[in-house]
């Protein structure tokens, strides 16, 4: 049974005001197309969760979608600050933003605990740091084998997780390659999962390489076909990270009104990702086109009776 739908439908049906939302992807496969649709549909009071809020949450926070941010690294990677997040935290523009802060490893532990339905996850970090004093949800337990105390973090179970993938079949079985980030854990931890794919493929393509299936359709609620949906992030083998965009964002996001103008032009003013692709123009996609470097194949074998 096909779960294929449009981004508009998927967001309308599966993302509610007040939801806890994770659009994951460590640098790689960050689904900006979904974020833009959420901004367009003016979703409100979201609790946004990601290790690295990146430009995607900078945009959503500037647009007023969020009431809270759960994170571990608040930067424009290799460039500098996330100015919109800083404005919200430092000055309450456009609205005050609650923050709940971990280290990367703390967030990793939270997603694992969420996926595994564990009440807590132990991590050998935080000792000696002020982070636990700033976040009372980071606690400690005694090791019953006598090595002393260890910090633990609570599970993170998003209402919705949205993941961009390279290819998926119509049931949501998805192949991912390149950086894996927290994709598997963020999906298994969620109550609802939206898979956004560069390519929709026949299930035979998936079944030819079952070890590459990071997300099973079993846990997927909707599948959206949205090529270039991760730009200015990237999809390994499909298009490069748009470093020019990440650098340009540092300038244009320094002023709230300039940022809003950008949203007007590139988000509110467009019906969807197809228009975004067209407006960016072919020279951008040409510039981001990688060369070919193929994986080689492995034989899974045929096993007749």
């Amino acid at each position: 049974m096909s779960k294929v739908t449009t981004m508009k439908e998927a967001i309308a049906q599966l993302v509610n005001d007040g939801d806890t939302l994770a659009i994951e992807g460590f640098t790689h496969l960050i689904c900006f197309a979904a974020a833009h649709e959420i901004i367009r549909q003016r979703k409100r009071d979201l609790t946004l969760c990601r290790l690295t809020p990146d430009l995607i949450y900078d945009q959503m926070i500037a647009a007023g979608c969020a009431k809270k941010l759960v994170f571990s690294y608040l930067g424009n990677p290799g460039v500098g600050s996330l100015h919109a997040v800083r404005r919200a935290v430092e000055k309450g523009i456009p609205a005050p933003l609650e923050v709940e802060e971990y280290s990367h490893f703390g967030m990793v532990g939270r997603f694992i605990a969420g996926a595994a339905k564990l009440p807590f996850y132990p991590v050998r970090t935080f000792a000696g740091s002020d982070i636990p004093s700033a976040n009372p949800r980071i606690r400690r337990v005694d090791d019953p084998y006598g090595t002393g105390q260890i910090y633990v973090v609570p599970p993170l179970n998003p209402d919705v997780t949205i993941l961009h993938v390279q290819r998926a079949d119509e049931r949501g079985n998805a192949h991912i390659w390149g950086l894996m980030g927290m994709q598997a854990e963020a999906a298994f931890a969620a109550r609802r999962v939206i898979i956004v794919a560069e390519r929709l493929v026949d299930e035979a393509v998936i079944r030819a390489d079952p070890n590459r299936t990071v997300i099973p359709g079993l846990i997927v609620d909707a599948v959206v076909h949205e090529p270039y949906g991760a730009h200015p992030s990237y999809a390994q083998g499909y298009y490069d990270r748009d470093t020019q965009f990440y650098l340009a964002w540092d300038t244009l996001s320094r002023d709230h009104d300039t940022l809003l103008s950008w949203l007007d032009e590139w988000v509110y003013g467009l019906a969807g990702r197809a228009e975004y692709i067209q407006r960016m123009g072919p020279e951008v996609w040409q510039r981001l086109q990688p060369g070919e470097a193929w994986s080689g194949q492995v034989n899974y074998g045929q096993y007749p009776e």
Binding site: T27, G75, I112, S129, I131, L179, G181
Partner: protein, 254 residues
């Protein structure tokens, strides 16, 4: 004499600290270039692990981000974040981690979280990322920072990543973690940590730099080693590798 920039001095000094190291946790920017320089000079067998989950990368270009696709293509292994943080970092495979910070105190404790009070920050900084666990779990830590009084402070506004805490045995009492920072590589000299007090001690001055200039840029009274050395300047070979191979566009030269 060959000319070179302060950044090149920092990169060369950082690379030399990797002599004998087997596995390094690589960050973007100066540490990235330092690690690649070390592989080509003092540590040919050095293995590089990137925080994004990449082991044995062979980047075809200088990446802007730790998660750049050029680090993935042609790498030896690419793993998920749970595997990276649990099996590589917490598992004890990392010999050396590099860290920087907005604020550093005399014990090598680092702040990358806030300037001002946590609940109402004057400046909201990026936060820990992986720094807190690198600081605890790498066998040793190298800190890279440019000297100035806003960075080298008497008292951190927030302790994100533990160095030697309050000095003495205070870090050892945390439990079974790495030994913490062993050197602070700055644009004017190199600090190490006193074996007993665990306070920073200036052990080497870069050519042309003076102790007084260092002290002007540090908020606490600087300890100077009795055998204060002069840092060996970047060699022509080191400069050649940096300029021709690692950063031909000179992005990290200034």
């Amino acid at each position: 004499m060959t000319e070179y920039t302060a950044s090149e001095m920092m990169i060369a000094a950082s690379a030399r600290e990797l002599a004998g190291a087997r596995v390094v946790f690589v960050g973007i920017g100066l540490p990235n270039i330092a690690c690649n320089l070390a592989q080509r000079t003092v540590a040919p067998d050095l293995e590089l692990v990137y925080e994004a989950g990449v082991y044995g990368a062979r980047p075809s270009r200088l990446p802007l981000s730790i998660g750049d696709p050029c680090l993935v293509a042609g790498a030896t292994s690419v793993v998920s974040m749970p595997q990276l943080f649990q099996y590589y970092l917490q598992g004890g495979l990392i010999d050396v981690g590099f860290l920087g910070a907005a604020q550093i105190d005399r014990y090598g404790n680092l702040n990358t979280t806030v300037i001002g009070p946590y609940q109402k920050p004057k400046v909201r900084l990026p936060g820990s990322g992986g720094a807190c666990e690198i600081a605890l779990l790498a066998r040793k830590v190298l800190i890279i920072a440019r000297l100035n009084r806003r960075t080298f402070v008497d008292q951190l506004d927030f302790l994100t990543s533990p160095g030697h805490l309050t000095g003495g045995e205070s870090r050892a009492r945390l439990g079974d973690y790495g030994q913490g920072p062993t050197a602070v590589i700055t644009d004017m000299g190199i600090f190490r940590f006193d074996e007993k007090t665990r306070e920073m001690v200036l052990t080497s001055l870069h050519p042309g730099c003076k102790v007084e200039a260092v002290q002007e840029r540090v908020s606490w009274p600087v300890w100077v080693a009795p055998d204060l050395a002069e840092t060996e300047p970047p060699s022509p070979a080191e400069l050649g590798i940096m300029r021709q191979e690692l950063d031909p566009a000179g992005r990290y030269r200034q």
